[in-house]
């Protein structure tokens, strides 16, 4: 337990000391969303229909950006080997890492999303759905992404490979989250979609750390 808490604390401290780490993905998030009105049509009637989807795609891409660095420094400075040698639970460690990632990526994204909603002419009724879907969905993105990061840690240009691996896994989250926001916008119920996201969160929280742990061990055998 102590290794995990030490790692989590250290990573949070690093993130706090290095604001670029979590600010840059936020700026990317904002910029990607801004691209759509510029590229297609800034008419609010049009934007309001695609707002939820665009914001979610932007959140997805911003998350992918920040995942690459998750295990990178640990591989480079040998912390990873120390973890394995310590005999402590890699499962809990992976969970802790995913938590830190969410705190420095998914949570800021979620908190900033209303701003993007304003810019994308999101219907008023959809804002709670946006926050809820991001709040429940981004941890799933972090958990799944952590598996990808563990698999590609130490691989050259692993970032792009990571995106290729994880995007298919993200699609169910995207579908249900964007659907929730859209249905909220047209005044329909979206409980089912949020429920599915919740189920994905529960499942990924339980199972992905196994995969991450296995992937980390694999990396060390190289």
């Amino acid at each position: 337990m102590s290794l995990v808490t030490a790692t989590v604390k250290r990573d949070l401290l690093l993130a706090a000391r290095n604001p670029g780490e979590w600010l840059n993905p936020l700026m990317f998030f904002l910029m990607v969303a801004a691209l759509f009105p510029l590229a297609v049509d800034p008419d609010p009637k049009f934007l309001s229909k695609i707002a939820g989807g665009v914001i979610w795609v932007a959140a997805l891409l911003a998350t992918l950006l920040s995942l690459d660095a998750l295990y990178k420094s640990d591989v480079e400075d040998g912390s990873l080997e120390q973890w394995l040698a310590s005999g402590e639970s890699l499962y809990v460690l992976a969970l802790g890492k995913a938590l830190v990632h969410w705190l420095s990526s998914g949570l800021p994204l979620t908190l900033m999303s209303p701003l993007l909603g304003l810019m994308m002419a999101l219907p008023d009724e959809a804002f709670p759905a946006l926050l809820l879907s991001l709040g429940v969905g981004t941890p799933v993105l972090s958990l799944l992404g952590a598996v990808g990061a563990a698999l590609t840690a130490g691989v050259r240009s692993g970032g792009l490979l990571l995106s290729l691996l994880i995007l298919p896994l993200y699609i169910p989250v995207l579908i249900f989250a964007a659907s929730a926001v859209y249905h909220a916008g047209i005044g329909m119920s979206y409980n089912g979609q949020i429920g599915f996201l919740g189920a994905m969160l529960a499942l990924s929280a339980c199972l992905t750390p196994f995969a991450s742990a296995a992937a980390l061990k694999l990396n060390l055998s190289r």
Binding site: P19, G20, M27, L30, A34, L38, D41, P42, L118
Partner: protein, 248 residues
């Protein structure tokens, strides 16, 4: 006059002289800016008549327009300072450029936020993709890019050079971006209601605006000076004049 300016420019290039000269300027700038703000806002908030179409919400102009002007010219100043550094290797120029970035970005943010807030009673929504606001948003992205790049590079010299290069590329791009955004805007919005109707502005509305614009530039200069002095101190901390300063 010209000779005096050239001499001033060279003196400002020396960190020690910059620190001393600007130290004398700070009280004056502070007083002038404070007086300017008070006069400008009293005139603008209390004495300027309400706009025929927009009512009292137009009073936001006294912040929005000065901030927008400063944000845009600050980027140009930052690029010029960066160019001076790249061409003549004047360290002070690099430090000035670095100081301008966060301040220019702050004014850009103010312009953006006040523009959006102004849009709500005027157009009914908190955000509209009109040419001016969109250009301001892109300018903010450019500012963030320069700031993020500078902070990502560890070596001081490389960081300043990289920031200078990016600022120059950005400054050349600004007219291109503005033009393309305006062109894009005409495709989508047949008649843009401009927030500021400059030619037909009543002098009672215009005078406070001019005062606020001038005051904001003075204030901007003050902020840049404050930040740059810190950069000077940080970089020159081993020198004897800084030592004397610390021990006094």
């Amino acid at each position: 006059m010209w000779q005096w300016l050239v001499r001033l420019y060279h003196r400002l290039g020396s960190p020690k002289w910059f620190y001393e000269i600007t130290g004398r300027w700070i009280p004056w700038l502070t007083v002038t800016a404070s007086v300017g703000v008070v006069v400008g806002l009293v005139l603008g908030l209390l004495y300027a008549p309400a706009d025929y179409q927009q009512g009292n919400s137009f009073r936001i102009i006294y912040i929005h327009v000065p901030a927008a002007l400063v944000a845009q010219s600050a980027f140009i100043m930052m690029a010029v300072a960066g160019a001076v550094f790249l061409i003549w290797r004047m360290k002070m120029a690099a430090w000035v450029a670095r100081s301008i970035a966060p301040i220019g970005a702050s004014f850009c943010l103010i312009a953006l936020l006040t523009g959006a807030i102004w849009g709500k009673p005027t157009w009914g929504t908190w955000w509209v993709w009109d040419a001016r606001l969109t250009s301001m948003l892109l300018l903010l992205f450019l500012y963030f890019g320069v700031m993020a790049l500078q902070r990502a590079i560890e070596s001081d010299d490389a960081s300043h050079k990289a920031g200078a290069i990016l600022s120059l590329v950005g400054v050349i791009n600004i007219p291109i971006i503005k033009y393309s955004v305006e062109w894009w805007n005409t495709l989508h919005q047949p008649a843009t209601l401009t927030l500021t109707e400059k030619p037909s502005m009543h002098p009672d509305m215009l005078v406070p605006l001019l005062i606020m614009i001038l005051t904001t530039y003075i204030f901007f200069a003050l902020l840049v000076i404050l930040r740059t002095r810190n950069e000077v101190l940080r970089h020159e901390r081993k020198r004897s004049w800084v030592r004397e300063l610390l021990e006094s």
